[in-house]
């Protein structure tokens, strides 16, 4: 034994310590990896020894290797051993290693709980300190839960050193174990007034961090913080408090008013820039929050802007940067105050620091006006010339275009100037933004008619000098501009001075080196030019030979393009070549062809808004989802297999229910349709036809003669030595304005009237300054982009393409689309979902939407609006229901809380006057539920197994099935229960492709009746909901499967303590509800039943019976069908949208308890996964970032439920929080079940 110890210490002499390791690594620069791997082997040996000193040394070295990127998690247990050493020296090493490499999924962490607890209560404050520090890096929810009390005790430790660490770590504990916040908070608040400044500062830090996420809950602390702010001298504390106030003021404007004065004082008195800056920032926040109500804080704004100016003028780049950053915040609400510092900001554009230049550029955007636009852009153009890096230059270029084109060219008074700017920008070499310039050129030329002549001239010059732009096609994006140039010259060729020269320029052999799409435009527009040239030449009789020469030119040059490897170019070129050859033939016969050739390109292309296509309303009666021709039935199933899930379902359904409609379409019908289509086209704004607008005469403005457009020498090459062209405009513009002013003085009254007119004609004429006195150089008529006449006013298109909800669109859209389609005759049964046997009691989407959501003050997204619309629809529908009910009342006197919903197949159609109204009720069950129906687990086991096939077959082959069943009049023995029946009825078919998600589930079925879709959803009136307890609406579809009449259906459920079927007044607790309709053979109909539910924490099952009479010609029999209603916890959730800020506040509030779930082997795309959770479990996505999404839902009793869903290679982890843990647990189980089944 003694020998062993001696041996151990001798070994130690030869062990490398950290320094030896570092030195060794430095000495093995060439084979570092190899050296380290031998070191790791040594470390492994060392870790095997019993000597704790050796182990500590090894762990210390591992910490170093971890920094170099080596995974040392294999030594986690050894680290725990070192942590638990009684010696501070080793303990510290152990904790350091742990804090560097432990994390939540380190399994040995759970071994440390007791050790850490021991260290926390150690008499040695440094043991405690080391444990607290380590914990701050690797605290897990378990550790937080187990140690929360110990740490809380430490907050009142005698040593401030421990107190401050304990206070700080509490924040991490709150994050991991939110339940601890409530008990710990009073003590934390106490620490705000701790005598030790360090502890106080720590408490402020923690509370600020908490309040930042959830400011609302901390408003009550404002007076305390206010006191601290006025009394504290610790700048760290002050900064934090002032930042906190910045977060609180938007919630409480009165606080803001109170803050202004002390903050202003601080701004005046403090010498610390960091404090000054934070004060200014918070004052800005206050002013923004007040800006609506209180106009007279200009003094404070002035002070802020003035102080920021000092910062910006400082030589310290950091202050400059921050000053500009804060300035941009003011710009949003008080642009004028910032505009007066334009000089300074322009100066910052010259700064050597790129981040500062970029900040300054951001500011510029908000500072332009009609007055200064030219000046600012001129300045930017200078920068463009000087800028050395392409990135910055590109940034400048986009900014120039942004600034000029903002709000529909609001600030541009002279478009000739703008065109010249664009032309000058084409001189930029190596820019990536050629297409941007090109699209601007096109936009301006198309929409500003008055500028076309000028634009065409400029573009012709560009084309003529194309070699300057194309010098280096590969690295040069600028040749894109030629695309615009060629198109403009071709389309507006009537403005060309020398069309012949341009035509020649467009057919130069060099063009063949341009990218294909540009060549294609060249070829096409050469043809347009050709038409113009011909027209010009044929007017003069002597020129017939010239005209022939023109044709010859094309015939000579075009073959080059015919050989192009680009298909588009080739095709266009060969078409046009043949055309020209033909024309030449005619010319040789002295036939005048110009008119006809021109007619090829007649008509004007009007600008069409990018959103226009989307806005075209679907004409009434047109169903875009319907098959035009029936798909070949044989290949149907294969096709569907190949198609994406959503599509497959469509195909399936459509084919089914459109069958009868389209089989007998005959020739006559087709002809009639053709007629209709033609008529439609005639009215369609998208069919290009000669419109009177194309002949519109250009409105030459009043001031146009001042502008010597034609005086600009077009032969001047692009690179004008000396003054660039746009500068001329700046000068001219100044002169013009001067003159205008003088004019105005003379004939003030007259001008005023004119101006009024102009103002009316121009769009968006309101600038931030009083810009009325700057009259535009041209009476430019900015053509608005066309929209279809009856465009829907929806804002669908405003949706951010990056909207995280976008991913969800796919499935939901399908669903909506499906719901909009009226149910066809054949659609007797809702399609059945074959793979989801346990899904029951889901809320239909429609009813989700009916639920009044607490109004959020934010802008509604397009989607929401749509929902709103739907909501309206469903309200209409409800009204109708009421009517129906009332009719019932009058007619039969029976007072039923059952709402019958008639679908189209019901014998008596609903009294709907408009197709929309008719569609609304019909669509309800579908919107409500999707289509599938599956057995609930209330069914006997064997039923479950066969149900999918059964239901599926009933959907797809129902006709066949019906036939099979037609003659089945036999009475099955009901003692076996409905489940048995369904087994017998089930005909096994092959699996069909996945239908879309649905909430309809098969409830029970026998040979007579099938109760499909048990669907629970929330009550329609949330107020009743929250006050009177909760209601759940269950929609049941009854389908008659036999060929006899079914009547006197009575629906009854055995109430439980918790859930009760709502019966009409006066009815006993065991009375059934009469289903208010009868079912002819093969017909289905839906009824709704309302249940009141007390406790929503647990899933419920209710037993029920349906009794009915089957009436045949000669007899009638009483039948009954048993079922079980399954209310899952999910069915108590209402999809409620939630904004991310509200969401994070909710999470930070600490009221929610957490729970998590891991799903393995889920191999569906993330958005499908989200869509599933959304659909089946009534969540909405709050935010989605890559493979991580936060989701939200609310129970009918107002419990919040938050999910964080993350996915990484087939593993999905769901972290959930809810203020009702029981409910949460059950919902999670249900989610798990959902995914275990797919």
């Amino acid at each position: 034994m003694a020998l062993k110890i001696v041996k151990g210490s001798i070994d130690r002499m030869f062990d490398k310590n950290l320094q030896d390791l570092v030195r060794g690594i430095r000495n093995h620069k060439e084979d570092e990896a190899k050296y380290i791997s031998t070191c790791i082997d040594e470390i492994k040996q060392e870790l095997k020894q019993d000597n704790i000193a050796v182990k500590a040394n090894a762990v210390c070295k591992l910490t170093y290797l971890q920094m170099l990127g080596y995974d040392v998690s294999w030594a986690a247990f050894n680290i725990v051993e070192v942590m638990s050493s009684s010696k501070f020296t080793y303990k510290r090493i152990g904790y350091l290693a742990a804090s560097q490499c432990f994390h939540e999924s380190t399994d040995v962490i759970m071994l440390t709980t007791n050790q850490i607890r021991k260290d926390l209560s150690s008499p040695n404050q440094y043991d405690t300190g080391v444990a607290l520090t380590g914990l701050s890096c690797f605290v897990t929810p378990d550790l937080a839960r187990d140690l929360a009390n110990d740490i809380m005790t430490l907050m009142s430790h005698t040593k401030p050193y421990i107190r401050k660490k304990a206070v700080l770590i509490m924040y991490k504990v709150f994050l991991k174990y939110p339940e601890s916040l409530r008990p710990a908070f009073p003590r934390l608040k106490e620490k705000l007034e701790d005598p030790d400044p360090g502890v106080q500062s720590a408490a402020v830090n923690v509370i600020c961090e908490l309040a930042r996420r959830n400011p609302k809950n901390y408003l009550s602390l404002a007076p305390l913080f206010f006191k601290l702010m006025t009394s504290s001298t610790n700048n760290w504390v002050l900064i934090k408090i002032i930042k906190l106030f910045g977060a609180l003021t938007p919630l409480e404007p009165r606080l803001g008013k109170k803050l202004i004065e002390p903050l202003t004082n601080l701004i005046h008195s403090t010498s610390a820039m960091s404090l000054l800056y934070e004060c200014v920032n918070t004052v800005i926040a206050v002013l923004i929050s007040l800006s609506s109500g209180m106009p007279n804080h200009s003094a404070s704004i002035q002070l802020c802007v003035q102080k920021l100016r000092i910062l910006i003028e400082d030589s310290d780049q950091n202050l400059k940067y921050l000053g500009l950053l804060a300035m941009s915040k003011i710009l949003k609400t008080h642009p004028k105050s910032v505009q007066s510092h334009k000089d300074l900001i322009l100066q910052c554009l010259d700064d050597k620091d790129e981040s500062i230049r970029l900040r300054a550029l951001d500011l510029l955007y908000g500072m332009v006006s009609k007055k200064n636009l030219m000046e600012i852009v001129k300045k930017l153009m200078l920068h463009v010339d000087k800028a050395e890096g392409t990135t910055y230059r590109d940034e400048l270029l986009t900014k120039i275009i942004d600034i000029c084109s903002q709000s529909n060219y609001q600030y541009i008074t002279n478009f000739e100037w703008y065109i010249s700017i664009l032309v000058e920008l084409t001189r930029l070499e190596g820019t990536r933004h050629g297409h941007l310039i090109a699209s601007q050129m096109l936009d301006v030329a198309i929409r500003v008619k008055a500028i076309r002549a000028f634009a065409v001239a400029q573009m012709a010059t560009l084309l003529d000098n194309a070699h300057l732009l194309t010098g280096n096609t590969q690295r040069n994006g600028i040749c894109e501009v030629l695309y615009a140039a060629a198109w403009i010259c071709g389309e507006f060729s009537e403005h060309l001075e020398e069309p012949m020269a341009t035509l020649e320029a467009m057919l130069r052999p060099k063009v063949a080196t341009l990218p294909g799409h540009i060549q294609a435009v060249y070829v096409q527009n050469a043809a347009k030019l050709f038409a113009t040239v011909l027209r010009g030449q044929e007017g003069v009789p002597a020129d017939s030979t010239v005209a022939q020469e023109t044709s010859q030119l094309l015939i000579d040059r075009l073959p080059l393009f015919v050989q192009s490897s680009n298909l588009e170019v080739q095709e266009r070129a060969s078409c046009i070549l043949q055309l020209v050859k033909y024309i030449q033939k005619l010319q040789q016969k002295d036939v005048e062809v110009a008119e006809e050739v021109t007619a090829l390109f007649a008509g004007e292309l009007n600008p069409v808004a990018p959103k226009a296509q989307k806005k075209v309303p679907v004409p009434e009666g047109l169903d875009l989802d319907v098959w035009i021709n029936e798909p070949p039935s044989g290949s149907e199933s294969e096709d569907e297999g190949r198609k994406s899930k959503g599509k497959a379902v469509f195909a399936k359904e459509e084919s089914r229910h459109t069958k009868p409609r389209y089989t007998e379409v005959d020739e006559k019908e087709l002809a009639k349709r053709r007629e209709v289509r033609k008529a439609e086209q005639a009215n369609n704004p998208f069919y290009i036809k000669a419109s009177p607008s194309s002949q519109k005469v250009y409105q030459d403005g009043v001031g146009v003669e001042h502008i010597p457009v034609v005086q600009i020498d077009l032969s001047v090459p692009l690179k004008v030595p000396g003054m660039p062209m746009s500068d001329q405009y700046v000068k001219l513009e100044e002169e013009r304005r001067e003159r205008n002013k003088a004019d105005k003085k003379k004939k003030k009254d007259k001008k005023k009237r004119e101006k009024g007119e102009k103002g009316r004609r121009r769009r968006g004429d309101s600038g931030p300054e009083s810009e009325e006195d700057i009259t535009p150089a041209h009476m430019v008529d900015i053509v608005t982009e066309e929209m279809p006449e009856n465009a829907l006013p929806s804002d669908d298109d405003d949706k951010d393409p990056n909207d995280p909800h976008k991913a969800l669109n796919i499935d939901l859209d399908n669903l909506l689309a499906a719901s909009r389609r009226p149910l066809a005759d054949s659609e007797k049964k809702l399609p059945v979902r074959s793979h989801r046997p346990d899904e029951v009691l889901k809320s239909p989407m429609e009813d989700r939407q009916v639920v009044e959501v607490v109004p959020e003050p934010k802008k509604k997204t397009g989607k929401e609006k749509k929902e709103k619309k739907d909501r309206k629809k469903s309200k209409e529908k409800k009204k109708k229901h009421k009517q129906e009910e009332e009719e019932d009342l009058m007619g039969s006197g029976s007072q039923e809380p059952v709402q019958a919903e008639e679908t189209k197949e019901v014998a008596a159609p609903p009294p709907a006057s408009t197709p929309e109204a008719a569609a609304a009720p019909a669509s309800t069950p579908r919107t409500a539920s999707g289509m599938a129906a599956v057995a609930p687990d209330s069914e006997p086991e064997e039923a479950k197994d066969t149900e999918p096939e059964e239901t599926k077959s009933s959907t797809h082959k129902k006709k066949k099935q019906k036939k099979e069943k037609k003659k089945k009049k036999h009475h099955h023995n009901h003692s076996d229960g409905a489940g048995d029946e369904s087994v017998q009825n089930g005909t096994v078919e092959e699996e069909e492709p996945l239908p879309p998600m649905s909430n309809y589930a098969l409830l029970a079925e026998n040979s007579y009746v099938k109760m499909m879709k048990q669907d629970a959803d929330k009550v329609c009136d949330i107020q009743g909901n929250l006050q009177d307890g909760s209601q759940v609406v269950v929609s049941v579809i009854f389908e008659n499967k036999c060929d006899s009449f079914i009547k006197s259906m009575e629906f009854n459920v055995l109430d439980s303590l918790n859930s009760k079927l709502q019966r009409p007044d006066g009815a006993g607790p065991h009375d059934g509800l009469i289903v208010p309709f009868q079912l002819p053979p093969g017909i289905s109909n839906e009824a709704r039943f309302i249940f009141s539910v007390q406790n929503i924490v647990m899933p419920q099952k209710l037993k029920g019976t349906l009794t009915f009479i089957v009436k045949t010609d000669d007899s009638s029999t009483h039948e009954k069908l048993d079922f079980k209603l399954h209310f899952t916890c999910t069915s108590y959730l209402i999809t409620t949208p939630c904004y991310s800020d509200a969401y994070s506040k909710l999470l930070e509030s600490g009221d929610l308890k957490g729970c998590s779930l891991k799903l393995e082997g889920v191999n569906q795309p993330f958005h499908h996964l989200l869509a599933r959770i959304c659909f089946h479990h009534h969540f909405s996505v709050v935010e989605r970032i890559d493979s991580c999404a936060s989701m939200y839902s609310r129970s009918i009793q107002g419990h919040h439920m938050c999910l964080l869903v993350k996915t990484a290679d087939q593993t999905v982890s769901i972290d959930a929080k809810c203020d009702e843990p029981g409910l949460l647990g059950n919902v999670l189980d249900e989610i798990k079940l959902t995914f275990s089944q797919c």
């Binding site: 510290r92 890096c137 660490k165 770590i169 403090t270 800056y277 981040s355």
Partner: protein, 190 residues
Amino acid sequence: MIKAILIFNNHGKPRLIRFYEYFAEDVQQQIIRETFHLVSKRDDNVCNFLEGGSLIGGSDYKLIYRHYATLYFVFCVDSSESELGILDLIQVFVETLDKCFENVCELDLIFHMDKVHFILQEVVMGMVLETNMNEIVGQVELQNRMEKSEGLLCSAARAVSAVKNINLPEMPRNINIGDINIKVPSLSPF
């Protein structure tokens, strides 16, 4: 909140890394590389703030750094921290190092990464813990004294002397903070 603290030299070699949120080792290395790439191409006379890289942070996070001779000190913080405050904190940290190591140079950080960590632990704990330099130095010294009293690291002394004598021509020995005069907007009393 402070998300991470990175110290690396002019060649991007890490000298100390401390993440207050878990990242796997390879991601950590990527973050170091990315951060180094962002920081190293900036002149010394430009501002010390950077929008965070793609790996660490996101829009709410900023990189705030200082460059001292051969070393970059980079703090990744979210918007609840004052930019100028963090710059001061870096200064406090570096000055503390200077006191504890007596004219700190890169070599001290290389060979005593553990000690640097122990000092850092007294300054930052996910949030700003202590900004008073005397307090920090006092606590560090008390702990070192405790360690000495346990007398368990005799080998450490041997190593330190070895380091001091080692001949490393490529390392400029003369890097002490005092030489580098970066203007610090002063926060009044610490």
